[in-house]
Symmetry: C2
Subunit: 342 residues, 2 copies
DNA sequence: ACAGATGATGGCAGCGCTGCCAATCTCATT
DNA sequence: AATGAGATTGGCAGCGCTGCCATCATCTGT
C-alpha cells in the first residue's frame, strides 16, 4: 500500500493552526495558547480546541513555531550535539545522558557525527548552527580555527564534553585524560610491572587517546621506567585490531610484562590473543584498558580498566547548557577498576 | 570566558539574508539563489555575495528556509529516524548507513530513540512529524495504533527497516528474522546437535528477537527435535546477562549440546562462561549467536553467527526514502557465518 | 452601583527565507 | 537596426506560528 500523496489531490494542504481555530470557533492565538498550555484560557475553550485538534488530526509545525518564537525567551528549544562516532559506545552513552536531561527540559536535539574528521566537524557545526539552536554540545577541546570562530560568533552556549585537559570556550564537562594515563601507569608500576608496552589505534585521530598515552608515558618516564615499546594499529579501534596489534607487539618484544591499551576494545582483542596463544594473564602479561565496557567485565577475568562517567558527563553537559550559569570547567573524574588482568 | 550574549547589547540581532543583500548590493532573491546555487546568476554577483557573507559572518536560518520552502519540491530536506536504542551497535550501524546516503542527498536527519518503548515511539513519531520531514524511517513493523494512524495520516514516505516478517505501511527494508531463526536451527541440526537450548534477553521488548526464536523453534519442532530448554534474562541484552543466563541454563540442563542466543552480546557472555567454567566449545557445548559483531570474530574461536547487512539496510532505506518509487518490500538477506563455536 | 483588577480572547504584524513573476539586460541572428 | 531567446535580477507575497496589544467579559471592594 502506497501512502504517498496521491497525484489526484495535488493540493492536499496540511492542517494548520488556523484550520483548527476555525473548526473550534476560536481565534488563532487562543489555539496557540491552549496548545502550548501557556497564558490563560477557559476549560471550555481548551476542550473545544482539543476536540478540533483530534477531529482534524492537526500536527503543529515546529518549524513555524520556532521561527516565530525566535528571539524570545521561550524560542529555540533546540540543542545541537556533535560527536565523533557512533560505533564507539562512549558516544551513544554521552548522547543518552544528554538527551535524557534535554528531553525533560523540553529540548529537541539534533545530532551530527563527524567521524573524527575536524573538517567535517566544522561543517557540522555550521549546519547545526543554521538551526539556530539554544546551545551546542561538542566533543573535545580541539577544533579547527574555522569551527572555533563559528562557535564564538554564534553567541550561544557551548559545552565541550569529555576532555578537561586544556582551555574551553565556555563550559567544559569531562575528566582529565592525561590524569587517566598517569593513574593507569601508576597502577601498573605499583603492581611491579616494569617492561611495559602500549597498543593503540590511530592516535592522530583520537586526541583524547593521545593525551592518555602522553600522561601514561610521562609517569613511566618519571618512574625511571619508560615505555618499552608501542604498536599502533592503523584505523579505528576494534577488538580485531587490538588482537593483531598485540600479536605483533609480543612477537617483537616477548619480554614485555604489561601492555596498556588505548581502550577496552583494543584490550579485549589483546586478551583474546593471549587466550588463543596461551599467554597467561596477568602472570605472563598484564593488560590494562580504558572505558570499562560492559563486556570487559564479563570476561573470564574482568579487565582492569578505567570507568568513565559517560552518562553523567552527558547529563551534566545538558544541564549546564540549559542553565544560565557562568563559564566553567566541570571535572567529573573517573574510577580505576582493578580487575583480574593487571 | 563567557560567550553568552552580553546583557549590554540586548538587541544583537543576528545577520539575516537581507543584511547580506544590502551589503552585497543585490536583491534578496539573488542572495538566496547564490547561496543555494540554484537558478542563474553571474560570477561577479556570486563573488560579491560570497564576500558579503564572509564579511558579515552570515549563517542561513534553516528554520526559515524550510518553512518558506515547504510545499515545494525542493522543500523539506529533512528526514526523521526512530530507532529503539543506541547501545546495541545494530542501530548506530543502521544510522550510519542511512545518514551517509541522506547527507549525500542534502538531507538533514533528526533522530529519536525510543528505548524499545512503543508509547515512547509513538510520541517520538509525533515529535518528528512536527518537523514536517520529507520522510520518516522507523524500526520494525510493530507500532501502536496511534503511531500507525499518525504515520498514515502524515502522507509522507515511511520506511520501516530491519524486519520483513509482516505487512509494512509503505517501504520495508530488511531481512526475515524468522528465516534467520530457521536457518540457525538448520545449521545446528545439520551439525548433529540435538539437545538444544536458548538463552535470550527480554523478548517481549525486542519483537525481532522473538521472531527469530519463533522461526528457530518451529524448525526444531519440524525436525522432531523441539527446543529443550530456554533461559530468559531480564532486562536488555548484554554479555553479563548472557554469561549469567547460560550459567543458569547449563546448571539446570547439563545435557544440552548447543545453545542459541538471542544475539551476539548474549552469546559472547555465554562463551565467556564456557571459558571460565572449562566447558569445551563446541565439543561439549556449541554456541550460536546473531549479528556478527566485530568482537565476536576476534574471539579465540570466532563465534558462529549471522551477519546482517546493517549498513546496507540503512543505506537502502535512505535511498528508497529519497526516491519516488512505489511501495515495496526489499529483502537484503543475511549470511550465516560458520565460525568455530557451532 | 462604579472604578479597578483579572481573566479570556481575537487581530495582526512579523520571524527569515523561498517561489513566482515581471523587469531588465545581453547577444547572436536576420 | 530590429528581434527574440536566454540570462540575470529584484520585488513581494506568503510559509505557519508566536508575541504583543487592544478588547471585552467577569469579578471585587467600598
Amino acid at each position: 500500500m502506497n501512502v504517498q500523496r496521491s497525484l489526484h489531490e495535488p493540493e492536499r494542504r496540511l492542517v494548520t493552526l488556523s484550520d483548527v481555530a476555525r473548526e473550534a470557533g476560536v481565534g488563532e492565538s487562543t489555539v496557540s495558547r491552549v496548545l502550548r498550555n501557556q497564558g490563560s484560557f477557559s476549560k471550555r475553550t481548551q476542550d473545544r480546541v482539543a476536540e478540533a485538534v483530534a477531529r482534524l488530526g492537526y500536527v503543529p509545525n515546529r518549524l513555524a513555531g520556532m521561527l516565530a518564537g525566535s528571539g524570545s525567551t521561550a524560542g529555540a528549544k533546540l540543542v545541537g550535539i556533535v560527536i565523533p562516532s557512533l560505533t564507539n559506545i562512549v558516544f551513544p552513552d554521552l548522547l543518552r545522558g544528554a538527551t535524557a536531561v534535554l528531553d525533560r527540559g523540553g529540548f529537541q536535539s539534533v545530532i551530527g557525527v563527524s567521524d573524527y574528521d575536524p573538517e567535517r566537524e566544522e561543517a557540522l557545526i555550521g549546519a547545526l548552527l543554521s538551526w539556530r539552536p539554544a546551545g551546542l554540545i561538542v566533543t573535545g577541546l580541539e577544533h579547527t580555527p574555522g569551527a572555533l570562530a563559528r562557535l564564538r560568533a554564534s553567541g550561544i552556549r557551548i559545552v565541550e564534553m569529555i576532555d578537561t585537559d586544556g582551555a574551553g570556550l565556555d563550559i567544559v564537562v569531562g575528566f582529565s585524560n592525561r590524569a587517566v594515563g598517569c593513574d593507569s601507569a601508576r597502577h601498573l608500576l605499583a603492581r611491579g610491572y616494569r617492561r611495559i608496552g602500549f597498543v593503540g589505534h590511530d592516535i592522530t585521530q583520537d586526541l583524547r587517546a593521545a593525551k592518555r598515552l602522553a600522561g601514561f608515558c610521562e609517569t613511566l618516564r618519571e618512574a625511571g621506567c619508560p615505555l618499552a615499546e608501542r604498536e599502533i594499529a592503523s584505523g579505528p579501534s576494534s577488538a580485531a585490531a587490538g588482537r593483531e596489534a598485540l600479536a605483533r607487539l609480543v612477537g617483537r618484544r616477548p619480554d614485555l610484562d604489561a601492555v596498556y591499551f588505548s581502550n577496552d576494545d583494543m584490550a579485549l582483542g589483546g586478551y583474546f590473543h593471549c587466550l588463543a596463544d596461551g599467554i597467561a594473564v596477568p602472570g605472563r602479561l598484564a593488560l590494562f584498558g580504558f572505558n570499562a565496557l560492559d563486556i570487559a567485565a564479563a570476561l573470564p577475568q574482568p579487565l582492569t580498566t578505567i570507568r568513565t562517567p559517560r552518562l553523567e558527563i552527558g547529563a551534566a553537559a545538558a544541564e549546564r547548557l540549559a542553565a544560565d550559569g557562568p563559564a566553567e570547567t566541570v571535572d567529573l573524574g573517573y574510577e580505576l577498576i582493578a580487575g583480574a588482568t593487571a
